[in-house]
């Protein structure tokens, strides 16, 4: 059997993959373009408004996963309370929208018109003081970032200055998630209780429930997400990003070199919190409500699994992971509700034990030789045997065409 020259398609594929695997920045740029095309063209053109809105909802979790990649994958800080920040961002937005929806005219049947309906049900006579500033949109937009940011700053400084990290930090953030969800459920008159803040209608008079508004909000969300990815990319390419990786791997060495490790960790934790909050606010806008079921322990840890499935240190992985996990959740909850916990449970175990780098960690080189062999077989089935580069020969792959030819 004669040696076959590589076919043009596989040659082109190889040179492309070679560049991809040798230059990290090329790879990242290509991934970014791919992601942008997917989010801005493929999804909006390929999906109806209902499905697009659903994808938009999944993408709001991707903000949280992005934050987790930065703070967990790069910084080594596992927070199990990201739902807190997602929720705070979402609630800030929801408070504004709720106040707009409860103008005196449309709430005329209440015993106290002009306040949100759940307050009226709980016999509140006037708007609580902390609700009043949320009548202004600029304040709300600021609060979406500042409120979660401040909380993360306080928690981060308190913990990291005392060099608390690792599992202790994880447990304490989890307890904070638990506290906030109990608080929201318990103070029904102020927060809407277990139902959350519902019946959101308009944003400065613009109806957010129409199909057109949903498409526009999807685009706003997608652009913000792409912006967040760019922010993350520039962060991890900077010196700060290297420092983060260094302190993840050998915290003491970074400390002894003279860097302020605590401030560095606090910074990335605050950044992650703010990203989550943006996700939360976009969630409220696109889905039209906010409830404590996105704040507590379970949603917080589900967001960790999104980041872990995508690859804990891959910004792009975080987005695909969020899409995949949440699509899976919707699919299973609709079709086999009793299987969903099994699926996500085993996913947790597998992602830790079998493929700790998630989707992004699937070996590019292995995939490359696999795809190459497929391409070659596809074009020249009879002579597609010889492999010009020294690659580990796979008996299963080479044996099949031999029996054919």
């Amino acid at each position: 059997m004669e040696r076959a020259t590589p076919s043009p398609w596989s040659a082109r594929f190889r040179s492309f993959t070679a560049r991809l695997s040798s230059e990290k920045s090329t790879r990242e740029n290509a991934s970014f373009v791919l992601l942008a095309v997917l989010l801005l063209l493929v999804f909006p053109l390929g999906l109806d408004v209902f499905r697009l809105n659903l994808v938009g909802k999944y993408l709001t979790y991707a903000f949280v996963a992005l934050g987790l990649v930065l703070c967990w994958g790069y910084g080594g800080i596992l927070s199990l309370g990201q739902g807190v920040f997602f929720g705070l961002g979402g609630y800030c937005m929801a408070m504004f929208l709720k106040l707009e929806a409860s103008d005196p005219k449309s709430t005329a049947i209440q015993s106290t018109p002009g306040i949100p309906d759940f307050m009226d049900w709980n016999q509140l006579k006037e708007l609580p003081a902390f609700w009043v500033p949320f009548e202004s949109l600029p304040f709300t937009l600021l609060a979406v970032l500042v409120v979660p940011g401040l909380l993360a700053l306080v928690v981060g400084l308190a913990m990291f200055k005392r060099r608390v990290g690792g599992v202790y930090f994880a447990i304490i953030t989890q307890a904070i998630a638990s506290i906030l969800s109990i608080l929201i459920i318990g103070r029904q008159g102020y927060t809407g209780g277990v139902n959350g803040i519902t019946d959101l209608k308009t944003l400065l008079g613009w109806d957010i429930r129409t199909d057109e508004a949903k498409v526009i909000l999807y685009y706003v969300n997608a652009v913000l997400l792409l912006g967040a990815v760019l922010l993350g990319l520039s962060l991890i390419r900077s010196k700060l990003g290297r420092l983060l990786v260094a302190l993840r791997d050998k915290e003491e060495r970074v400390l002894f070199t003279g860097y302020d490790v605590a401030s560095l960790k606090t910074f990335v934790f605050v950044l992650a919190a703010m990203l989550s909050a943006v996700g939360g606010a976009m969630f409220t806008l696109q889905v039209g409500f906010m409830s404590p079921s996105f704040v507590g322990i379970v949603p917080s840890i589900e967001m960790v699994i999104c980041a872990a499935v995508g690859g804990r240190s891959s910004l792009f992985g975080a987005i695909y992971g969020s899409l995949l996990v949440n699509f899976g959740k919707t699919y299973f909850s609709e079709s086999f509700p009793e299987l969903w916990l099994f699926v996500i449970g085993f996913l947790f175990i597998a992602v830790v034990m079998v493929f700790p780098n998630g989707l992004a960690g699937l070996d590019l080189m292995k995939m490359r030789s696999f795809i190459e062999s497929k391409l070659r077989r596809f074009q020249k089935p009879s002579v597609g045997l010889s492999i010009p580069k020294p690659a580990p020969s796979r008996p299963g792959v080479t044996a099949a065409p031999r029996s054919n030819g």
Partner: protein, 300 residues
């Protein structure tokens, strides 16, 4: 204020204390001694609780004597069953993750989800209650207004006995010496001829077994559902962390103070607000004093 109200309130606090301490004992051993986070700990409690429930139903087949005395049997069976599952988990999962504590946390969380769903498929989503034997029913009335239920007293006695046993085991038996030596300096312990792998394996199994016993005790004061155990997991972790993870006395005291704070504040406000207040206090204290109430200095 009436003294009897205080007494009853303190007794409520003691019941919470028992649940927390029983769960924290196993967790303190696993987390404190091995540094491993077992998020599925609550599910081992549920294993014990369902075992006890099944055995309480078996009385109708095996006769009245069993119905009366099933409880001691249930404690032993719960310990063995939960311990065996724990042993398997250590063997096939946790062992491979000792160097990655955060990953252990995620993997055991996944395990807890799987176990919860398995309970739900096996026993149904509805909560079940074990039929209590006659000698656990009723209550003591030292005065006309104070009413102390016997199952609560029994639970306290069991907690005291179990805590004593664990303390005795850790301080005065050869195995306890091995465990402590492994915790303090693994390499040295291993050089001194201690099989540290075996110690890890057994410590984990015993910790899970203790959770099983906690589950058996749990059935005397409450009903069991698929998620009963996970309700307590965060509180229990806070108990262990607050107490200072390496000292058992810290665990006992922190369980006591948390339970009593909770019970006392519940008197003045709604249950959920009391819980928020208690948990926030713990977190603030932990931020100021991250090592917890008690800690030992260990050179690592």
């Amino acid at each position: 204020m009436d003294l009897s109200i205080w007494a009853m309130q303190a007794f409520n606090g003691l019941s919470t204390f028992c649940v927390l301490l029983l769960m924290a004992l196993g967790l303190a051993i696993i987390f404190g001694q091995m540094g491993v986070i077992n998020m599925a700990h609550g599910e081992f409690l549920t294993i014990g609780a369902y075992t006890t429930f099944l055995l309480s139903q078996a009385g109708s087949v095996l006769g009245d004597w069993f119905q009366t005395w099933y409880f001691p049997v249930a404690i032993v069976v719960s310990f063995v069953l939960a311990g065996a599952v724990g042993w398997l988990v250590e063997r096939f999962m946790v062992r491979h993750l000792y160097r990655r504590p955060l990953d252990t946390l995620l993997a055991t969380w996944g395990l807890s989800l799987v176990m919860q769903q398995a309970f739900r498929s096996g026993f149904g989503a509805r909560e079940v209650s074990a039929t209590l034997p006659d000698w656990l029913m009723g209550s003591l009335k030292p005065t006309a207004t104070i009413d102390i239920p016997i199952n609560g007293l029994f639970m306290m006695a069991l907690t005291a006995a179990l805590t004593g046993l664990v303390v005795f085991g850790l301080t005065s038996t050869r195995f306890g010496v091995w465990v402590r030596a492994t915790v303090q300096n693994r390499a040295m312990a291993s050089a001194a001829g201690i099989n540290t792998r075996k110690v890890d394996e057994l410590t984990f199994a015993i910790g899970c077994g203790l959770a099983g016993v906690a589950g058996a005790a749990f059935t005397t004061i409450g009903s069991t559902g698929p998620t009963s155990g996970s309700l307590y997991i965060v509180d229990t972790f806070l108990v262990v962390v607050f107490g200072g993870a390496e000292r058992l006395i810290g665990t006992i005291l922190s369980a006591f103070s948390i339970a009593q704070t909770q019970a006392a504040t519940e008197f003045f406000m709604t249950g959920s607000m009391a819980k928020v207040l208690t948990l926030s206090t713990i977190i603030v204290i932990l931020m100021l004093r991250p090592q917890g109430l008690f800690s030992i200095k260990v050179r690592r």
